[in-house]
Symmetry: C2
Subunit: 228 residues, 2 copies
């Protein structure tokens, strides 16, 4: 039973890594499409998001099957429940990549990236892609030094997000309302993407370091309380 469970967990982990890899491809393409007004690349991202959604749903079904079949407790249970949450965050990251691609498509053949903010959004796009890459690596290797790196990138993205609003609200801003809308939405998407990554990274950290142990009292139960 124990070995079966560990094979199942490996399967869960492999699927999380796979989905994170697809999300990395999506955000890389989406941010490059946004920067270059490449509508064909944007279309790819929009089309491929369904694959991420399907894989997240399949992972959820696997996690529920593991809960039903193997009835894990304590740390094992926390791992499976966390997988459900990480899958939801990764799916949402895929949605955000799709939103950035949709902005690109909506403005085409105009540039979606507002004038005067090109270098800011180029930085944000690269940071988001690096965040996704490191998150994939974290899920694969459980190398916890990556958590801090992801957090640092997120801090940089927060600063850039603030700088977009400073720019848009400054006297020097020449953009029309359409550029202002695009800057606002695109900046928020770029910033939220990394927030979700931090949320996944924190779960990996908690599971590895046992920070969730504060709650363990309530779930370590005498065997007599368990069915069978």
């Amino acid at each position: 039973m124990r070995e079966v469970f560990h094979q199942s967990l490996e399967d869960v982990q492999n699927r999380l890594v796979e989905i994170a890899g697809l999300v990395t491809v999506a955000i890389d393409k989406a941010t490059r499409a946004f920067e270059a007004s490449d509508v064909a690349l944007a279309e790819e991202v929009i089309e491929e998001d369904a694959v991420i959604d399907d894989k997240a749903t399949a992972l959820d079904e696997l996690a529920i099957e593991i809960l039903a079949r193997q009835q894990p407790v304590a740390r094992d249970l926390r791992i499976v429940v966390s997988a459900l949450r990480m899958s939801a965050s990764l799916e949402r990251m895929g949605d955000i990549a799709e939103h950035i691609a949709q902005l690109t498509r909506m403005r085409f053949p105009e540039r979606a990236i507002p004038k005067g903010l090109k270098s800011t959004f180029t930085k944000m796009g690269k940071l988001d892609t690096e965040v996704a890459r490191r998150l994939t690596e974290l899920l694969r290797t459980e190398d916890l030094t990556l958590v801090e790196e992801i957090r640092n990138f997120d801090d940089k993205l927060d600063d850039l997000h603030v700088s977009v609003f400073e720019k848009v609200l400054s006297d020097s801003w020449q953009g029309d309302p359409s550029a202002t809308v695009d800057a606002t939405l695109a900046s928020r998407y770029h910033e939220r993407f990394a927030d979700h990554a931090v949320s996944v990274a924190k779960k990996v950290l908690y599971l590895s370091t046992g920070d969730w142990m504060v709650h363990t009292d309530t779930i370590e139960l005498p065997l007599a309380d368990q069915p069978g």
Copy 2:
């Protein structure tokens, strides 16, 4: 065991209803604060969001405890897993109410609600509050006619969201960049709030009608496969 499980489920349901009730208060206050530039009311929403977060965390812990202690399978398992997801959506709805309150505070003593969009945002605020109210009622009564009502309100919110962008991008738009940013963010928050409500409502519907049964094959297992 069975009776204990049903008491636990009742506890889960009561807590979901309680959190949805708090979210209803939050969105009602936040949208009224936004409309009236009432910074004191906005502060209340910001302060009270921590209560929603704490209650959502406590519900998650209860759900995990039920999984560990009572090891439900099949439909019972789906209910507990769904509660985890509903709790996440409700918590997010609370965050969105807080974001609307933060917009109000950020612009004070100026009005956060952009000129020319007052009636639109008043409508959006009322719809979001009605959505939250009906969601609370749905969780309490499982009256499935409410699902359709929530969906209809969500459709109206989507239409209003589109109309905000049409207005902002029209030649008649007189707003400065700050008004454009506010309209964009506020409209997106109002629209996302209802999306999360629809997501929760759908889960109640699935659990009640058994639409999730399509996947049941994979979790209905012979007893021999279960521990104990």
